[in-house]
Symmetry: C3
Subunit: 653 residues, 3 copies
């Protein structure tokens, strides 16, 4: 989609204040003060839109749309399915989920509807049809925000389980195929009737993996059901749904293909650690994940103006943090900064989640002033239309694959207490971040590999069908692949590759993994690389060399002479294997070397001081300081001073 401006806005719960016209009045005034140009509305409004079955009340929403328009703002209109109304659960209990024991949940909470419920699907279509038809011509209608924070948490009702069985039948055709794929001869788990399958047996890991996939796809399918009327009656209105921190059992890479623009909700733990450096890196990774999903600008749909109410502790943001976090999002490809929430609720679960307008009700607060600064900045940036449509290409891609994560999660490994798949991907990412080099974060589908020079597969335990061919072709043409311990261990049905791993690529890597091993806690596994000393932890693959060059070997007695890093020429490219887990100190040095060989450079030509992040988007360059100390940079002859939590943007003046 095309953005005309950077968006600035918030979730707005107008309907909570219908009896307080004074407050509503102030809201619209304050929105102009912070230069808000959008509001996300109607997110949990079902009970206010359909007060009882078939009894509709759109008047307040009509008014809200009109007032936004009059106020110079646009509406990001939500469909209300994130929270079903109580009358519906009461009349149709089937809209509530059933747990693993077979007990149906009582009404309550949110995001907990059964996704196969015919009633709920039909109700959603009806509601969305009414919304789309009603506001099709409304000038304020800018975008749809479908439902809210979908997840892949399963429901075990008869209907969901039956759908899963059909899904399996479609996938495997015969029970024989399924039994083979799930290796059910182990522990006498062979199925002889589709109806025998019930997805709660953690010992059939292939089944649980398929159950995760099914639930992720079912959510996307539910989303498809929701958007059908929207597409029909308002084909030109772009559609998004707000993604979350990616640990909610959804394959967001798959989901991203279905939305017009990716948006997500970012809630880092600022100010709880020695500095903001590590949270900054983690957040950057997530931004890049969502930027890479469509290789287009994305939206920051939610972040908090200050503190949260649903964590053990969430400190109010310090001076500068709101701006810095906003600049970071923009730098990594966001075209919006939006908040949860515009105004603090008086009651309910999140009444102490901070908001642009606090309970005190005035614009004379630190928060309000911080948000106003962001509004001004976005207005200034919006002048640069090219910036709005640009995200830079990357030379480096890191594979972070959701289904691979689920497979690792379900696996019983020699070491189970420190799997940390996501953290390991971020550790590799960090090596480039600290060099000022942008990475894409891609799925194991390995699409458009030709864009990249270096492709990194941290813990890519599971190889989807076709992985070998894609990797071989990439290396053949001169690409550099880096794999780690556990890579290529199982195929897409969680069956182990025989005859050596990485599966079907032992020639390419010039090695075979003999055993997946453990470096025990407190055990030393030291090695040297380019004259520097490092220590590996947690995991080690014990390999047999089959022609690879060994770049480093362990020196600690218990792992003496075992290879740490191997390199193998294949076609015009190289395949590296890192047999053990290493921290970013080593990875930074290792990848620095590879970048040099592949002529990959940052736009800055100096070593970044600790805590400093740089990012480029077209002609605009961003310099950010997540550290505690003021630093001074010399960029192309210009001195840039960044105080702690400060930033500088080059190329917008």
């Amino acid at each position: 989609m095309v953005f005309e401006n950077f968006l600035h806005g918030a979730d707005y719960n107008y309907e909570q204040w219908l009896d307080r016209s004074d407050i509503l009045e102030k809201d619209f005034f304050y929105m102009k003060e912070v230069k808000a140009n959008v509001m996300s509305i109607g997110i949990f409004s079902w009970a206010m839109l359909e007060t009882d079955e078939g009894q509709y009340n759109f008047k307040w929403l009509d008014n809200l749309m009109d007032r936004l328009q009059a106020n110079g703002q646009k509406a990001i209109l939500a469909t209300p399915s994130g929270s079903k109304p109580a009358w519906m659960s009461y009349k149709y209990p089937e809209v509530c989920r059933v747990d693993e024991k077979g007990i149906r949940e009582k009404h309550g909470g949110r995001h907990n509807h059964c996704r196969t419920s015919i009633v709920y699907r039909e109700k959603c279509r009806e509601m969305n049809t009414l919304l789309a038809k009603r506001y099709a011509k409304h000038p304020a209608l800018f975008m749809y925000h479908v439902s809210n924070e979908y997840n892949g948490v399963p429901c075990f009702c008869d209907n969901c389980v039956a759908e899963f069985r059909s899904w399996l039948e479609h996938k495997y055709k015969t029970l024989d195929n399924l039994n083979k794929a799930w290796w059910t001869t182990f522990w006498s788990h062979r199925f002889t009737d589709w109806n025998q399958i019930f997805p709660n047996d953690g010992s059939i890991q292939g089944m649980i993996l398929d159950w995760r996939r099914f639930n992720s796809e079912l959510t996307i399918n539910f989303f498809n059901n929701e958007i059908e009327p929207l597409r029909k009656y308002t084909p030109n209105i772009p559609i998004t749904t707000n993604f979350q921190f990616p640990d909610v059992w959804l394959d967001y890479h798959m989901f991203a293909k279905k939305v017009d623009v990716v948006s997500w909700d970012s809630y880092p733990d600022w100010h709880l650690y020695d500095s903001e450096i590590e949270e900054g890196i983690k957040t950057a990774f997530m931004h890049d994940l969502y930027r890479s999903a469509k290789k287009q600008p994305f939206m920051l749909m939610e972040c908090t103006p200050s503190s949260l109410n649903w964590k053990p502790q969430a400190r109010q943001k310090k001076e500068g943090m709101t701006e810095l976090a906003s600049v970071q999002a923009i730098a990594h490809g966001s075209n919006s900064i939006q908040y949860f929430q515009w105004r603090q609720s008086r009651g309910g679960e999140e009444k102490f989640h901070s908001a642009v307008v606090s309970h005190i009700g005035t614009d004379n607060t630190r928060i309000f002033k911080d948000i106003t600064k962001v509004g001004c900045l976005l207005e200034k940036l919006s002048v640069n239309k090219k910036l709005l449509s640009t995200v830079d290409k990357s030379d480096v891609a890191i594979v972070y694959d959701f289904q691979n994560g689920w497979a690792i999660d379900g696996a019983g490994l020699p070491r189970n207490n420190r799997k940390n798949y996501q953290a390991e991907c971020i550790e590799h990412y960090k090596a480039f971040y600290k060099k000022g080099i942008q990475c894409d974060i891609i799925s194991a589908e390995l699409e458009n590999l030709s864009d990249y020079k270096i492709l990194i597969l941290p813990m890519l335990y599971m190889f989807p069908d076709g992985t070998e061919q894609k990797l071989k072709a990439f290396v053949e043409k001169g690409g550099t692949v880096v794999a780690t311990y556990l890579t290529g261990t199982v195929d897409s049905t969680d069956l182990c590759f025989l005859d050596g791993t990485p599966g079907n690529l032992t020639d390419m890597f010039g090695i075979k993994v003999e055993q997946n091993g453990v470096i025990a806690d407190n055990e030393k596994a030291e090695f040297q690389y380019n004259g520097k000393k490092y220590n590996s932890v947690d995991y080690i693959d014990i390999i047999q060399n089959a022609g690879a060059q060994v770049l480093s070997k362990f020196e600690s007695p218990d792992f003496l002479d075992m290879p740490v890093i191997t390199k193998n020429k294949a076609g015009n490219g190289y395949a590296y294997y890192l047999t053990s887990r290493n921290n970013s100190d080593f990875l930074k040095d290792f990848y620095a070397e590879l970048c040099k060989e592949n002529n990959i450079k940052s736009f800055v030509n100096f070593e970044l001081p600790d805590g400093v992040s740089v990012q480029k988007r077209g002609d605009v360059k961003f310099f950010m300081n997540f550290g505690n100390k003021e630093v001074s940079l010399n960029y192309e002859g210009k001195e840039i001073n960044l105080k702690s939590l400060g930033y500088y943007i080059e190329g917008i003046d």
Copy 2:
């Protein structure tokens, strides 16, 4: 009620030993040895009193009553509802509770009956009628001990939930009122039929708060049902029920109004920490809570003779501890020292809970000798009849409110991992305890405020209706109010005050709270007060000054210049606000100042050495040493030596 002597006694399970007349014989002999004048009997005796439905056996209880009388003792007769008999659960499963998932509990445990069960209520009335009529004229009948350790743990059966809905209808009249009070527009939680309400949705915090209140009231209502026949047939026999450490979802302030005398069960963790000082303070607080509940002497209904069997570890009491803990109870207003239990059971859950008579079965044990010493002391104290009817008035009241605790418990705050409401109240209490100044512990109903000079509201998050008026009137007349962070945040339905907090009292305090903030772990928040340095933790309210005098500001960079303590003159009094959480070091210094200004003094005029507690009850003064070291005091020219765990009582010789 009027006490003629200090009571000394124990829970006595006579019915467990009916086939061992030799043991029963010894019991009565030993009771005389320890100078026991009461026994609590029949506490869990239903199965022995009504062996099957309608088959009664009171003979053993007749005998027991007669033998107590003959032995010069009185009976504190329990109603047996604390544990329902197995035949009843078997015949009427509805007497058992239902869990949140809808599964009815199997028979077992204790204190787990459904309080709306018509059958159980009727059975209790029948049983209590039989007891009251049978022993109405018995000379040993001294007091009723209704049921045992009631709690407010909910049952989710259809009947309880239906009663809750009626309770709500009575309270809110219309669903519109309820929806507004619970702010159900948030997350689409509006109810359109009373039957849609099911109290398991933690995200509707107003509902959960009401559910807590309902269950607390339901327990009191159940108690009322139990006492009706007792009042009818034995109107002159006083009634109590044993309260517990106050974390069992009961509003004991409300409950206390229904009993003739407050009694409670005290089980501190003696000997598990460096010294007994902190446990001593906590226990003193609880004694004062129960003394303040009726501003009358209370009873210590249970304590352990030595160790317990239901904690991770419970060390046997050291030399002196039994006496010291007994003296402490008396000093704070108790008119009894009673033990669980007289004789150790041979079997069952608590067979290793210590008892006056141990399994070894003789009077030749350390425990027995300790108990005998207490018996002698109580006999000596009983000579002073004035002491028996006296509790001293306090100049200082600390509000510790159960419903406020439940509201805080349910709230989602910027910081949730260190709420510690009770501990915070004790921290304020400790400041006075260490000065030898008695405090009352009162509810947020704020009754009889004119008794006090200083009123302290630690974390009084929730303001019941009328709070503003009562506080204003108190200050107007010259009272001093001290409030802390989070005070006055929500009204009685858990709705946040708008326009600044403390709710409706921003003028009185001369401040407005802009934001409820967090001091993160390891973060420094230092300030000075009267030249001394302190550090705040966990919570901070960021305030806007509206006329108050700022007595201290933070000096740490992240909170620089934010007010720590504000003071505002209002009418003839003062309103203080402590914006952050502080330990008792600061509080002691702060309140010392306030006491001086308000002319509040201890009866001792010297600084108390660490670990020493002093308490006054009429003309009698108690000096107690909970520390590890012997100390020497000079009280009115007299030298008082207190060894570790020693005590001295002035005014009984």
Copy 3:
């Protein structure tokens, strides 16, 4: 049973590879390489043997039996009941267990059938009949491996609960007896109808203990049902079932009487601690437990070739560990070394459990070479036929009783957070292990006491009927008994002994326990013995001396002068009482003294260096080093060098 050779083998899942004849071919070749002479087969094969109800397929098993025979190997044939097939759970849901809440488990996992299910029992008999008849004459049939890793985990279905009630009726005859035994007058728990009993009330500890016993016996009863057809059709084939690490709610002492040979599965945590010394001791204890169960050679049915997949971390075995652990098993009485598993599965729960043949599929791996070394060693040892039939007698017996463990587990004690019954037994065992003196580990049935000179009762809380008589007789004849804190506290129904403990043996010990006490964390409880200083922890019995000699008293203030060790002459023997918990430093010194007095010696006459274990089996002597350092021993004039994880065997050349 008679062993002709030491057995070497593994669990072999032939049926998982029926479509890979190349792999099967290799398997038989590799088996010869590692000198395997047995394979455990058919363990979880029900779904492959009876593919749907009444549809049998034994062909693959016929082939496997034939091929083993042809390959010079024998079959340890399993019955497949360890995992029920899905078609059976689907058709007869009653074969699945029911949980405490009354919810029936879905099909899945393993080892989770209902043991009272008539259908499942009948199906097992049918299956086992077919197996026994079919292979009765097959020359490869060597032994039965009935089911797999039975456990005593309860099922709460109506049928199991009804059986429990019958079991109780059989045991107690009348409800009066039962009520007395369970002390149900406490908390009004009296039962007046057998049907009122439901075994989920943890507060009736006698009931829970009986429920544990019932479930253990029910498992043995289920086993008896399984073996009936085996005994009938193949009376000469020995029967075993693989026991586990003994914490699965089974009384293995009782179970052992029903098998022809004891076998067990050993999975220590090698390489996770500073050295292998402590794991070595724990494993030795378990070996001795299973050796003592029948005082015959046992079998090591399962151990891992390298790492595991079901623990938080399980490090691959270091150089030497596989051999050392194998030698240890043999030294302690095992006649077999068998592995789980022969070949790694491609899929399923345990695909990363290591195997003799790894996924890489070759014999060129560290694991394969280690296993081959063990095969060669076993071949060499097999020459010594006397060794095969010998286990040495012990002078010392330690009582480690399963039912006692359950009773302690259920008890509410003054200290509940460090009960550690098994660990305490091992601590006493360790004192002898470090001296090179073999101990038997026996049950509280105290059978064949006349074999022993010293009998140790660590924490023998529960005395089965007859304990007094047996202990008295033993001491009378000159035996030495050592008891500790908590010994003789309750009788077999968990009723406390009155009149002093150890129950009915206060004369023999010359003491009475006044109170079971606690040594709190961080508290000092120091004493001296033979001039050395020690410190007790966790538990202390406060005793009254009734004639015993006090060998040591506490010197720490809080326990000053309380006895630590008492000794009493009784008949021709001595009864010692250790009032507190001590570590093996003290125990080693204490027992060294007792051994000297009783003329008990190791076959080596020197002090063992740290980490070294010695063991004798007939004429063969084993020297093993579990420490990190190489050590040198001088044994009968011969220098023996043991490197870390090395061993030496004397008497086989």
